[in-house]
């Protein structure tokens, strides 16, 4: 009933994430210029506080794919992926990794508490938390890559391109994400903890075209590509 190979890895222990400082600075809107000493000090403070309260965790599963006219079926599950963008993303892939990662509600609480006392800190802590969950996702991808020894596409998340966010409830259930890592889903398919990510990564034994390789992040199919502050367009 299950595909031959099926993995699930969790990281549950409270531990530090290696947060990319350049990413934090980019999220804060700085481009060429670097922030001054005072802002850098607040970033340090926020990062320290965040590392204290986070409980980073991720989980993933490797599942077979069946490409059909109606979309891509994820084998052994109730999940079908529909849309041109996801089809293009997963073409040539016979398996995928479904993943969910979160830095936990501790981050939400910290940011909320900063909002009540100092908006500068809240804004900066939010950027640090965003960079933290990105770094955690990178760790998950490394883990997936090490375990599967396959060629990986970059992380494709529901709601991106024409893949509907409506698959989120089933995707999270397939991963048993609430129990495994504590991710909940609200009425509008918004995940809480807020700094949580779900993603679909294509796996192939053959090399993939460069645009889809895991080291590339693409703005190409993003709905916000022409107006996002961080876009390459």
């Amino acid at each position: 009933m299950y595909p031959d190979k099926y993995y699930g890895v969790l990281i549950m222990e409270k531990r530090e994430i290696n947060i990319n400082r350049a990413e934090v600075i980019r999220f804060l809107g700085y481009r060429e210029k670097r922030p001054g000493k005072d802002i850098m000090e607040i970033i340090d403070e926020c990062e320290k506080a965040l590392q204290e309260v986070m409980m980073p965790a991720f989980t993933f599963r490797i599942l077979g794919l069946r490409h059909t006219y109606d979309g891509i079926t994820v084998m052994g599950t109730d999940l079908t992926l529909e849309g041109e963008d996801i089809s293009r993303h997963l073409s040539g892939c016979d398996r995928c990794a479904l993943m969910a990662a979160t830095i936990s509600v501790g981050a939400d609480r910290l940011i909320k508490s900063y909002e009540a006392q100092d908006m500068t800190k809240a804004l900066i802590a939010d950027a640090v938390a965003s960079a933290a969950v990105e770094a955690l996702c990178d760790e998950a991808v490394t883990e997936i890559s090490n375990r599967t020894r396959s060629f990986l596409t970059w992380r494709y998340s529901p709601g991106y391109g024409d893949l509907s966010l409506d698959i989120q409830p089933v995707l999270l259930d397939v991963l048993d994400a609430h129990r495994q890592v504590g991710i909940t889903l609200g009425e509008n398919n918004i995940m809480i903890p807020r700094k949580s990510v779900t993603a679909i990564i294509g796996l192939s034994n053959r090399s993939l075209d460069l645009g889809r390789q895991s080291c590339e992040k693409s703005c190409k199919y993003c709905n916000l590509r022409y107006r996002c502050a961080y876009s390459e367009y």
Binding site: Y6, K14, Y30, I39, G76, G106, E115, A116, T184
Partner: protein, 790 residues
């Protein structure tokens, strides 16, 4: 506990639960991501078979297949809660027929996060679980399992107790840092749930029996209830997803739990009937070892337990009495002000916060609910619910997440019979005031007698002695000097003769005297030496908090002076605070540099000679304009812009206090409503806009996030605001923005609307009929200036 479980309890030493349900269903063909609860209707024979396998293996209790059978999850398959749960109970009943095995109604987490971190309200959670409880009324007991949010569990326990007479078992899921994913601690869950009156408590899932041992060991220190353990079959192998414990190892490991007071044993993920069979065999001769721990006096929020084994500071500042600025905040519904007061106190060293929002002209109950809900989202300390109205106390106790203190009951019959039952029902601790219908007795002996009366009444209805704290009442030294020492004497009597914890509002002692701080500080020290545990005081006054810390050092409570040194070492080297001192800097440059302390002192100084409006128009706004212009040019970045705005906010706060004190004209340039639309919880953008608008002199009525569409309209009309700002961050919530705009245009067409947020575009703004699109916070100020013409 009554009925069948009681019989089972008395008959059997160790009670055997069942093993995994999900794993068994997947073996029968359930696909991942499918709802297992639907199978109750589609495949009853599968369920009956699984239950029977566990019954044959020796389970005394089987759980129904209803883990996710709530209305939110079932929506996906179109089944009703009633038909699903009834079918599940019927399947289990069919399986247990002819045996002694009992049926437990299984309830797992709802799957949505409760407020204030999430959007699901406590009341809604209660309602959802209530529906499950009623549908499952044919079960023999109720089990909540795999819970990670204490708040949700409290809603569940209340729903169970108020809608059924069945016994209740709660098991939570902890990770190996001894917390659940929501941060709930072991001590907090044990204290809170035992006080709420459940029948057994424990842990399930997440880890294997080996890893769960320290968790159960910790739990056994905080409760004398029978414990429940339902571990996974070890840890899953990352490659095969097979669990690493064999039934033999599992059985050997769970044996170790019995001396901790474990009475219920079963299995979770990865376990099978074989595990249960072996556990059943192993325990057949074992005895239940009930625990007789002394559970200390303690209160808690979900994440933090405060044990009253040494002086703990209760912060008194959330209280409008004698505070004009606080009253104004209550009248305006300015919750942020209350939150800032809370954080200031906990930063200063408060262990517990008193919350009093009583003001004749407001709806105290509604305000109390809102304040408690918001406070528990941002502070990490237990709360003391302070009101004279039992109805307000009850409303707050209901929605409090943890074990709070009730302030207060007194020796009057009316108070005793109204307040103590609430304390018992909601599992709180209570402050007992030593006064009655005859007022406050003068002599210590008389106050002691009232304390004794309160204690006896509390004990009679089942409140633990450890949960009664007595306030011997401070009288002012200026009016009743001869009785000051009677209070101190009464504290000592209550402490030594009744063995109760004591609480005392310290600050009243000096009312009407000069140098109040000196008097307060000395009175505090006198009382501490005589046994005061819980001073209610202003923790922001450093000498007061310092007195408590020094007392703990000198009494060898703060062993090796660790706490004291961490607070005070190196302090001598730091330059003195600038507040109150003259500085050569001018206000615009202090604002531009984001120096809050300087902003405060310069503004105070300026107000002696300058009109408030002039400060706003000639100094604050130009400084902000300059920052805004640089931000637009890309010379300044968002964190710096917000820093400038926050510094300017400090100036506004000083000006506001000045105006309240002198009764001068306000500096308001007009009122604006801001809201993050229904369904959306991302409100950092809206909050940035708010800070900036406030600093340009606008009054912002912040309706928060996830705001009902019609509520925006109602508030706009009620407050006659000319401008409403709406924010949305997710594409899925743009619909709510459109609806809100539509409703506003229909019911209040003269009101202008500006919209913004990550996914909003100028085209979209126009399409849904908004008047303005704001690209960033700076633009929202430009729009406000245009609308208000200032």
């Amino acid at each position: 506990m009554t009925g069948k479980l009681k019989t089972l309890f008395d008959k059997k030493q160790i009670i055997i639960l069942d093993g995994a349900m999900g794993t068994m269903l997947q073996q029968k063909g359930l696909k991942m991501g499918e709802l297992p609860e639907k199978l109750n209707l589609d495949r009853p024979e599968w369920l009956i078979d699984i239950h029977k396998q566990y019954i044959n293996a020796g389970s005394d209790i089987v759980y129904t297949n209803t883990f996710g059978a709530n209305r939110l999850k079932l929506k996906r398959c179109g089944c009703s809660v009633e038909e699903t749960v009834r079918a599940a109970v019927k399947n289990a009943r069919a399986a247990v027929e002819g045996t002694d095995t009992l049926v437990a109604l299984d309830i797992g987490p709802i799957g949505q996060m409760l407020e204030p971190t999430g959007t699901l309200s406590f009341e809604e959670a209660y309602d959802i679980i209530k529906e499950q409880i009623i549908a499952g009324s044919e079960a023999d007991l109720i089990v909540f399992e795999t819970m990670s949010d204490l708040y949700e569990l409290k809603a569940g326990v209340l729903a169970a107790k108020e809608n059924s007479d069945l016994p209740i078992i709660c098991t939570l899921t902890f990770e190996n840092n001894l917390r659940t994913f929501t941060g709930t601690s072991i001590s907090s869950s044990a204290l809170t749930l035992e006080s709420l009156g459940i029948d057994a408590i424990g842990v399930n899932c997440s880890l294997g029996p080996k890893e769960l041992y320290p968790i159960v060991e910790e739990m056994s220190k905080w409760t004398n209830l029978p414990l429940v353990v339902k571990p996974n079959a070890g840890l899953p192998d990352p490659v095969t997803n097979e669990y690493d414990c064999s039934p033999e190892e599992f059985t050997e490991l769970v044996k170790a739990f019995i001396p901790l007071g474990v009475k219920f044993i079963g299995g979770c993920c990865g376990t099978s009937p074989e595990f249960i069979r072996q556990v059943c065999e192993m325990t057949s001769g074992a005895s239940y070892a009930p625990q007789h721990n002394e559970i200390p006096s303690a209160v808690c929020c979900a994440t933090n337990t405060v044990v009253i084994d040494q002086p703990r500071i209760i912060g008194e500042r959330i209280n409008p009495t004698g505070k004009k600025r606080f009253k104004e905040a209550l009248l305006a519904g300015d919750i942020d002000y209350i939150l800032s007061q809370a954080i200031e106190q906990t930063d200063a060293g408060a262990d517990i916060l008193d919350v009093n929002v009583g003001l004749p002209s407001i709806d105290e109950k509604a305000m109390m609910i809102r304040a408690v809900k918001e406070l528990q989202g941002v502070v990490d300390v237990p709360l003391q619910i302070d009101s004279t109205i039992p109805e307000v106390l009850e409303a707050a106790l209901r929605i409090y997440n943890g074990k709070p203190i009730v302030n207060s009951v007194n020796g009057e019959e009316k108070s005793l019979s109204a307040v103590l039952p609430l304390v018992k029902k909601y599992g709180a601790a209570v402050v007992g005031l030593t006064l009655d219908e005859n007022g406050i007795p003068k002599k210590a002996e008389e106050r002691f007698a009232i304390a004794k009366r309160i204690l006896d009444r509390a004990l009679a209805i089942g409140i633990r002695k450890e949960d009664v704290y007595i306030d011997c009442l401070t009288l002012t030294a200026s009016a009743e000097q001869e009785n000051v020492y009677e209070t101190v004497k009464a504290v000592e009597m209550v402490k030594t003769k009744l063995g109760l914890r004591t609480v005392l509002g310290v600050s009243n002692i000096s009312f009407g005297l000069p140098n109040r701080e000196l008097v307060n500080c000395n009175f505090l020290q006198m009382a501490l030496t005589k046994g005061l545990d819980l001073p209610i005081m202003n923790p922001n006054i450093t000498s007061m908090t310092g007195a408590v810390r020094a007392y703990k050092l000198l009494m060898n409570i703060d062993v090796n002076s660790v706490d004291f040194i961490s607070h005070y070492s190196g302090q001598e080297d730091k330059p003195k605070q600038v507040s109150g001192e003259k500085t050569s800097m001018d206000l615009p440059s202090a604002v531009a540099s984001g120096l809050k302390a300087e902003c405060r002192s310069i503004t105070k100084e300026l107000l002696k000679t300058t009109e408030p409006m002039e400060i706003v128009n000639t100094m604050l706004i130009p400084a902000l304009d300059r920052a805004g212009a640089e931000f637009e040019k890309g010379k300044l970045f968002l964190p710096q812009l917000i820093q400038t705005a926050s510094a300017s906010q400090v100036c506004f706060e000083v000006i506001k206090e000045h105006i309240l004190a002198t009764g001068e004209k306000t500096v308001s340039k007009g009122k604006i409503i801001l809201a993050t639309v229904k369904g959306d919880i991302h409100d950092i953008g809206k909050n940035i806009v708010k800070v900036l608008l406030e600093n340009y002199g606008y009054d912002v009525l912040d309706l928060g996030r996830d705001v009902d569409c019609q509520l925006v309209v109602d508030e706009a009309i009620k407050n006659e605001v000319p401008l409403v700002g709406l924010s949305a961050l997710m594409t899925t919530t743009l619909g709510s923005m459109e609806t809100t705009v539509k409703l506003l245009k229909e019911q209040y067409p003269e009101c202008k609307i500006m919209v913004g947020g990550a996914v909003v575009t100028p085209d979209y703004a126009e399409q849904i009929g908004a008047d303005y699109y704001a690209n960033d916070a700076k633009e929202s100020v430009d729009i406000a200036r245009k609308v208000f013409g200032n």
